[in-house]
Point group: none
Amino acid sequence: MGNNLPRILIVDDEPAIQRFLRTALDSCEFSLHQAENGHAALAATVTTKPDVILLDLGLPDMDGVEVIRRIRQWSQVPIVVLSVRDREGDKVKALDAGADDYLTKPFGVGELLARIRVALRRSLQQAPEPVYRIDELEVDLARRRVLVRGEEVSLTPTEYELLRLLVVHAGKVLTHRQILKQIWGVGYLEQPHVLRVNISNLRHKLESDASRPHYILTETGVGYRLKAKS
Amino acid sequence: MGNNLPRILIVDDEPAIQRFLRTALDSCEFSLHQAENGHAALAATVTTKPDVILLDLGLPDMDGVEVIRRIRQWSQVPIVVLSVRDREGDKVKALDAGADDYLTKPFGVGELLARIRVALRRSLQQAPEPVYRIDELEVDLARRRVLVRGEEVSLTPTEYELLRLLVVHAGKVLTHRQILKQIWGVGYLEQPHVLRVNISNLRHKLESDASRPHYILTETGVGYRLKAKS
DNA sequence: CTGGCATCTTGATACTTTCTTGATACCTTT
DNA sequence: AAAGGTATCAAGAAAGTATCAAGATGCCAG
């Protein structure tokens, strides 16, 4: 149905919980979708573009925290964790990975609804586009695809991570140290060479003239910057 | 001192809780402020512009939910409720009034900190850093970009540092020695030449007529001054 | 287990930008 | 006109950057 009710994606592998949530939420206020495992959840996040995700941490195929982390690579969609795990460490890990809220089962339906409304309040007031188009360069963070003049370009994992970092901060200067810390870890803080090589490689794949960069600009003595969206 | 630690406003009338929270949060990561009742909380929200508010619902002078409602009339600052009341109805009321999170006492310090980080994440990412606009000159400190008549100007690291210093103190006179110490270090205190060369270079990049400076003004015998914001 | 493949790391080298410095010209005040 | 402070130019030195390519690493398929 092409309605415009708020879309909620329920990620849980237990049919009982799925049923319970559907009953609780199915008052015609929401358009409900579901996924039974982590990979399905990631796919569904791309395809259904939910306004809120209700995520159980105990999934059969991958760790729930990893699901959060992957979604946060490209999306700001509010994630409310529903879990039986009441240990503080679990909560902290999930929240720091990017979750917005954490509810411990069992919880009241009223509270769940209220917390969903909180999440929706934020979701609706900000709708950022997950596809960055800058002149002839197109980066689809959700699908992990990069196009130059319509042609798909294949990047190595490091190259893609580097480009993603630049895209997320498009327009801002990222210092060498910020990039090195983010991608190679604190051990490489004093080793800008590895970064330069990767920037060079990226440019040769993305730019039409690598020696006259159009997208990835050098800020001498400081770092690099991706051209801002026009 | 004009530090920029995240500001947290603690609203609670019990000294014991105040002490507990101050201890828990006082790891030099936050700048803490407090209010003992609802009216003080509203006033403090205006004056200290906190990045997060920790609010106890049981205040002596007015209902906590009413405090939330009043703040929400003009501010989007994240509000995390800390309360002994565990009734679902209380949670729903507070959340629907505009609170972002609701923690029932007793709670773990780790969880509290994690939920504060969640709130800060949102608070900080939607707060754009100020842009200094002085006539036709525009300095965006967050993006490290300088525009003159809409055209981007590229500055060397030293030139940018110098301009940044001037911008931060726009309108005030900075002595030669202050600038030299700040940018070149104490070893250059008696060497104003290097500063003059850089001021000259900056002017040629920013001013339409470098010999008749409009932005970077010379205070003969004293130092330099950037024209104040109009 | 082994070879092949893609990727990552590292070193050498050429190249570019930025910094420093000295020489010199320019104001402005007395 | 002299003096003290200021502005500009340009060249060498220093610092930072780009690129190629060889060796190291790790993974997958046969």
